[in-house]
């Protein structure tokens, strides 16, 4: 190894250390930004070292520089635009899109290597390269199309409902078998670019078919899993081209995605495999419950609800996806400010799967300048409901349904927020529609629950206006 190679490798090592330290600093909101900066500089160092290597090496052709520059301008420019302009409610689909291009790029690194070596046959394509190339292509391509479908579902371009049809499982099995055969031929020494292309096309179809049957509310799990896949694909690309920076960074992301996948699946009390199998939320998966004979629902107007809130000493706000969809985070905060000015103790109960990706609700509320110490996790807040005068539920449904505590329902065993332990409950909801699980919510018919039928944004604004009028400020 020449001195220059050693220098490049040391920079890669420092960059890898920077990624670890950057992630480590993410363990507190106060240091998270510093962590992001450390990670950014680590990335700049890795890219600069690679650039130095290319210049020093001197084998890059003019066209190589041109395509690299053009590709970077197009991709980087697009990425910067999207990253700067995206609305915070739309972050899940953007993250999904970045998973897609990251996985796609990782697969292409291996494809490029294969196409480069295949005309010369045997010597370049060692078993190590073949195995890691196939692994990289499998994970990368499935992630690419799977993440595109996930992003489409989140954006509403693809139906958020589980898309299943008779024979789709069998089709998947056939495609999987087909790709296994193609991979087998490649291992056996058929170094054909067309074969690799065929493998990629088959895997692309598998990625699409894998995500289509998964329902929209399972997206926190899907995004986390695809994030783990992308990381692993990048690590595999690192194995293919023998680059430790890619291996380490990819493994870190793989670990992060895996942890989040597990947390999200636990928060829904459903095995990851069952979620991937999909179909949740369809009519056949949900047994009709609630034999209560259509127990009466009490509705309430904004004025009465405002009085309850204004004269409470402790209020817990429970925001759900409905709040995010209505972009009502600023209205929530305005109402909370009014209540706090009256000396009401206000906090927010955040269920792990509120929103469409892990921690999504926290970001939305942070955007509205809600101080993060007021955002309480499920474990923290559940014992407090019993001491709470009013729990204000906005656009949350399944995560507050007491039916989860009983066996035999579609959401049985899912950890929920103990909203029904509060002295009284106000639910802002557009209509009596069922939640994502298709299950009726027993909280709504609880005698201490009152329903304020309104869109989240309009309902909160009306509440704030009523509180203001009451207080006369």
């Amino acid at each position: 190894m020449s001195g220059f190679d050693a220098f490049i490798r040391i920079v890669y090592l420092l960059a890898a250390a920077g990624f670890v330290i950057g992630l480590h600093l993410m363990n507190s909101p106060a240091s998270a930004r510093r962590g992001s900066r450390v990670s950014t500089w680590a990335m700049v160092a890795a890219v600069a070292a690679t650039l130095a290597f290319m210049i020093h090496d001197g084998h890059t052709r003019a066209w190589g520089w041109v395509v690299l520059g053009a590709g970077t301008a197009v991709g980087g420019g697009g990425g910067l635009r999207m990253g700067r302009q995206v609305k915070l409610t739309d972050i899940p689909q953007l993250v999904s899109l970045f998973n897609a291009v990251g996985g796609g790029a990782a697969a292409l690194v291996a494809v490029n290597d294969f196409v480069h070596l295949s005309p010369h046959g045997g010597p370049g394509l060692t078993p190590r390269i073949l195995v890691t190339t196939v692994l990289d292509v499998v994970i990368g391509v499935v992630t690419f199309t799977g993440s595109l479908i996930a992003a489409g579902k989140l954006q509403g371009i693809v139906s958020g409902a589980p898309v299943v049809w008779p024979g789709s499982r069998q089709l998947n099995a056939v495609l999987a078998a087909g790709s296994a055969v193609m991979a087998g031929f490649i291992f056996a020494g058929t170094y054909s670019n067309a074969l690799l292309g065929g493998l990629c096309a088959t895997l692309a179809a598998i990625g699409v078919l894998m995500v289509l049957p998964i329902g929209g509310a399972d997206m926190p799990v899907v995004i986390s899993l695809l994030n783990a896949f992308t990381g692993t694909a990048v690590a595999m690309a690192g194995f293919v081209i023998g680059n430790t920076a890619l291996i380490i960074a990819g493994a870190l992301v793989g670990a992060s995605g895996t942890i989040l996948t597990k947390l999200m699946a636990d928060a829904m009390n459903r095995p990851v495999l069952a979620i991937i199998a999909g179909g949740f939320g369809t009519a056949d998966a949900v047994a009709p419950v609630m034999g209560a004979g259509g127990a009466a629902v009490q509705s309430v107007g904004p004025d009465d609800a405002a009085i309850s809130l204004a004269y409470a000493s402790k209020v817990i706000i429970v925001p759900g996806y409905g709040l995010a969809a209505a972009q009502a985070q600023h209205e929530v905060r305005a109402l909370a400010d009014l209540l706090e000015d009256r000396g009401v103790d206000v906090s927010y109960a955040i269920h792990p799967v509120a929103g469409r990706m892990p921690g999504h609700m926290n970001v939305l509320l942070a955007e509205a300048d809600v101080p993060y110490p007021q955002l309480k996790s499920m474990e923290e807040i559940n014992p407090e409901f019993a001491l709470t005068d009013v729990a204000l539920v906005i656009g949350a449904n399944d995560v507050v349904n007491p039916a989860a505590r009983r066996p035999g329902t579609a959401i049985s065993g899912m950890p929920i927020l103990d909203v029904d332990h509060a002295r009284s409950v106000i639910v802002i909801k557009r209509s009596m529609g069922a939640g994502y699980s298709g299950l009726e919510n027993e909280l709504y018919t609880d005698p201490k629950t009152r329903m304020l039928f309104a869109d989240a944004k309009a309902g909160l604004a009306a509440l704030a206006a009523a509180v203001k009028e009451l207080v006369g400020t």
Partner: protein, 103 residues
């Protein structure tokens, strides 16, 4: 099994373990920025795209290098941009009072 492969596998496994250890300490509040940060870290694949451009010597190679560079740089630049934007919103200090200037 060649020694280089074995050491690469060691690096991979140890990095996974470090990742599990470091990331399991991240609080739920920061899970979205964490995922976004992880997202930008896998933008390291851009290094792979650069090396692909370095070896490209025919039309197929150039096209592949172009697409790889575009994908990887979108991932890298966009990932960091969105992470930074999100974390800016967590700048509020616990002691800071509402209604103060600088909102």
């Amino acid at each position: 099994m060649p020694a280089s492969l074995l050491s690469d596998i060691s690096i991979f496994v140890l990095s996974l373990l470090v990742g599990f250890e470091v990331i399991s300490k991240v609080p739920a509040t920061l899970h979205t920025p964490l995922m976004s940060a992880a997202n930008s870290i896998h933008g390291i694949v851009f290094v792979g795209a650069m090396l692909a451009a370095a070896t490209a010597n025919d039309t197929t190679g150039y096209i592949l290098a172009f697409v790889t560079a575009a994908f990887a740089s979108a991932n890298l630049v966009g990932g960091y941009a969105v992470t930074d934007r999100m974390l800016q919103m967590f700048r509020t200090r616990p002691a800071a009072r509402r209604g103060e200037p600088g909102e």
